[in-house]
């Protein structure tokens, strides 16, 4: 079983997000970057599969050299090999095109992506790669069982769940449920040491016209000061929700 796990390099959940003075980009100063949390569930699922039935796990990122520590961390957690496609991603379709080219040149049985990255929250790349390759695709995937050349999946849909049976190779956009929070692994010293000698290859990107362009970033307007209501003045809360917030 050859598994590709696509990894995004994103600001830590708790990071304060600031933009450059001209509003054109994220200000990375003081920001800790991590493996995208959705991808971490996917990587852990890949480890479970490998441990149960054998195989190799490749982690892939489309990004500049600054993302290599994130790939090394994935190696330390247990991936066998890392690939960085050397491009500064500008939009989802360009990233998807590069991932597609890598998959076309390498035979993978299963491609695991996180449902979305917590930076641009696009939820675009996995579905795009799948469409380009005409591979089966399951988004919001919360369950995955492999059986030889097929995979049974469970996905969240609006108001419920859907189960699918798919022929490999396939792509999933995964999230918590693939594995649980308690299953996530922290690299140990042995993992960190062995990650140093695992292969991290750099591949040249294919360039394409980027059809979407970021024009500016801003922070959301701050909330007005909170209004506190005494616990014995519930009618006042109801009045505020009705007359002021127009929420009920």
């Amino acid at each position: 079983m050859d598994i590709l796990v696509c990894i995004s390099h994103v600001p830590d959940t708790t990071a304060k997000i600031n933009f450059s003075a001209d509003g054109s980009s994220l200000d990375p100063s003081g920001v800790q970057f991590v493996i995208n949390p959705y991808d971490e569930f996917g990587l852990t699922k890949a480890l479970h599969i490998k441990e149960a039935q054998g195989g190799a796990i490749t982690v892939l990122n489309v990004g500049g050299p600054e993302t290599e520590p994130t790939l090394r961390k994935a190696l330390a957690i247990g991936a066998d090999k890392a690939v960085r496609i050397d491009a500064t991603p500008t939009d989802a379709i360009t990233v998807a095109q590069n991932i597609k080219n890598h998959i076309s040149a390498n035979a993978y049985d299963l491609i695991i992506c996180g449902q979305e990255s917590i930076d641009y929250n696009g939820q675009q790349v996995p579905a795009m790669v799948a469409a380009m390759l005409r591979y089966p695709f399951v988004n919001a995937c919360v369950g995955l069982e492999l059986d030889g050349t097929s995979a049974s999946t469970k996905a969240e849909i609006d108001g419920g769940h859907a189960s699918h049976k798919n022929t490999l190779p396939m792509i999933i956009g995964g999230k918590k449920g693939l594995v649980e929070e308690k299953d996530l692994r922290i690299p140990n010293m042995r993992g960190i040491m062995s990650a140093r000698s695992k292969p991290l290859g750099v591949e040249e990107p294919t360039s394409g016209a980027a059809p979407t362009v970021s024009a500016a970033f801003e922070k959301p307007a701050g909330k007005a000061a909170i209004k506190m209501v005494e616990p014995d003045q519930i009618d006042e809360l109801v009045r505020l929700l009705n007359e002021e917030a127009k929420a009920i």
């Binding site: 569930f41 695709f137 609006d158 959301p220 909330k223 809360l237």
Partner: protein, 313 residues
């Protein structure tokens, strides 16, 4: 050519997101001086109601099962369109990127504004888990907008759209085994009001009052991550960064401290009410209204007050 909108159905019925999608397409089409064509994935009698929201032409088609199959259908049925609108529901989010990949169109997901301009198209979208807003320009002849439900709103317009049927091929690359949708409950992503509770409730046996409050408000129920992790409530109720992201008109958080992972999933809500015994809970900083108090006293009182309020209306 017109602005097209893909209108999703839920077992033959249309929902708020369907109407919001048509409203969005109409706003965009008006800016361009174009008409609106709605591609509807069901042939139910009520499809003609889409004219009320601005659809000039309503074309029904029989959808395939998968997002990719529908994307192929929508792509071929919207040949020559000036643009395409898709509601960012769970299914819409699998259709939109596939259409973009097939049609090489520019796509904005998580869109939270009407077009700011149309040549080229520019919109605002949520980014960095609601900690940032990105203004994005979509180049090319076939821009695609996938918007966050409940962020644009529904607008009724006068009109009488014509209804016809259309057909297109789409390939299902996967096989649907089973689909289970909880009926009789309001689905979280489309709820106008969400009542959410956390560890402050002390145990799953205490959720009755949360459900009662939700019932009075016509709200969906939700929970914090720790509560779903320890199994008090199902994962499908977990709102927050790695759970479901919601943006209702009203979000009531009971006994939730407001960890940043939770806020990332709810901070786009229009009005936030927080009830917590701890006056220092970080959630109060992100809320509009707050009550420092014991949920077991406050919630039943709130249920009574809301019942009286609803009865008086």
């Amino acid at each position: 050519m017109s602005v097209f909108v893909y209108v999703e159905d839920w077992n033959g019925a249309l929902k708020k997101a369907s109407f919001e999608a048509v409203s969005y397409a109409k706003t965009w089409a008006d800016m361009l001086g174009e008409s609106v064509v709605a591609l509807v994935s069901c042939a139910a009698g009520e499809v003609s109601s889409l004219a009320t929201y601005g659809a000039d032409e309503i074309r029904t088609f029989t959808p395939t099962v998968s997002g990719f199959g529908v994307a192929e259908q929508v792509k071929s049925l919207s040949e020559g369109a000036k643009g395409l609108v898709i509601a960012g529901t769970n299914f819409g989010k699998t259709v939109a990127p596939a259409v973009a990949a097939l049609g090489k169109g520019a796509l904005s997901t998580n869109t939270i504004s009407a077009p700011l301009q149309t040549a080229p198209l520019q919109v605002k979208r949520g980014a960095f888990s609601s900690k940032g807003i990105e203004t994005i320009t979509l180049e090319g002849a076939f821009p695609i907008i996938c918007f966050t439900p409940n962020s644009i709103g529904i607008q009724e317009r006068s009109g009488a759209g014509t209804v016809s049927s259309a057909s297109a091929e789409g390939a299902d690359l996967l096989e649907l085994v089973e689909k289970s949708v909880t009926t009789g409950k309001i689905a979280l992503p489309e709820a106008d009001v969400v009542v959410s509770a956390g560890r402050g409730l002390k145990g799953p046996e205490n959720w009755g009052m949360v459900e009662e409050l939700a019932d009075v408000l016509g709200a969906a129920t939700a929970c914090s991550k720790p509560v779903s992790d320890i199994g008090w409530r199902p994962h499908s109720e977990h709102v927050g960064q790695t759970g479901i992201q919601v943006n209702p008109n009203l979000y009531i958080a009971i006994g939730i401290s407001g960890a940043i992972q939770h806020l990332a999933g709810v901070s786009a809500s229009k009005t936030i009410v927080v009830v917590n015994t701890d006056a220092e809970a970080p959630f109060f900083k992100a809320a509009d209204y707050g009550i420092v108090g014991d949920a077991f006293e406050v919630v039943p009182r709130l249920v009574d007050a809301l019942r009286a309020f609803k009865a008086a209306q």
